[in-house]
Symmetry: C2
Subunit: 113 residues, 2 copies
Amino acid sequence: MSKDHLGELEELILLVILKLEEQAYGLAIQKEIQSETSRNVTIGAVHGTVNRLESKGLLESAFGGATEERGGRRKRFLKITSAGMEALRQSKELRLGLWNQIPSLAITKDDTQ
Amino acid sequence: MSKDHLGELEELILLVILKLEEQAYGLAIQKEIQSETSRNVTIGAVHGTVNRLESKGLLESAFGGATEERGGRRKRFLKITSAGMEALRQSKELRLGLWNQIPSLAITKDDTQ
DNA sequence: AGGTTTGTTCTATAAAGTAGAATAAATAAG
DNA sequence: CTTATTTATTCTACTTTATAGAACAAACCT
């Protein structure tokens, strides 16, 4: 019953991974968080959180091959699992439900894409 | 720059306080979280989080007077400050922004009230 | 081989969240 | 007026998340 919700950074990282699609790996996630939120999360924080999410089954990782770039280690690419997607949907539903019960925060058509 | 975001429970509690309006105090918050999310947060967790939010200036508290009920101690009523409201708005904006960049999570008119 | 670049791992600490027992204050009952 | 009952907050100990950055690893270039 309890203990299925995402931490704040866990949720943010899952969302950013979805946004980055095929280019989701540690450093890219860190940069994307920085550009979306002007928040400075360190690379250690990103990997720590990613590891936790993987051990919970909310995402999977796989190392990429050699690249065409200058040099550097192989990237560890992240992919959301269906359990991870479900967790994001639940979180969205909870917030939407609460916002819409509070007039000053309710969703309007201005919020839709 | 960094360190202005809400924890997961912090945000949930602020939203519930807004929803409860004049009846926001420890036990009521606990029950409301239970009914909105079927999550069992203990009363210690609620008060601990409320205290942290108050010390951050995101909410204020004041004890109520005697009631017309059976017995029991005075309630400590909680009220969101403008800084608290601002934090909630920022959090909403961040999520809306990310969801709308991800087709499977984007807000549609079905999500509006 | 040595240097540079890109990236992950590791280790230590602080903050947030969890849990429930202890305590307090108000009213009712005897 | 003393004791019991109800409603509620405080307190204390612990676990999980989040923060921070140094250490380490692997790929490419010269």
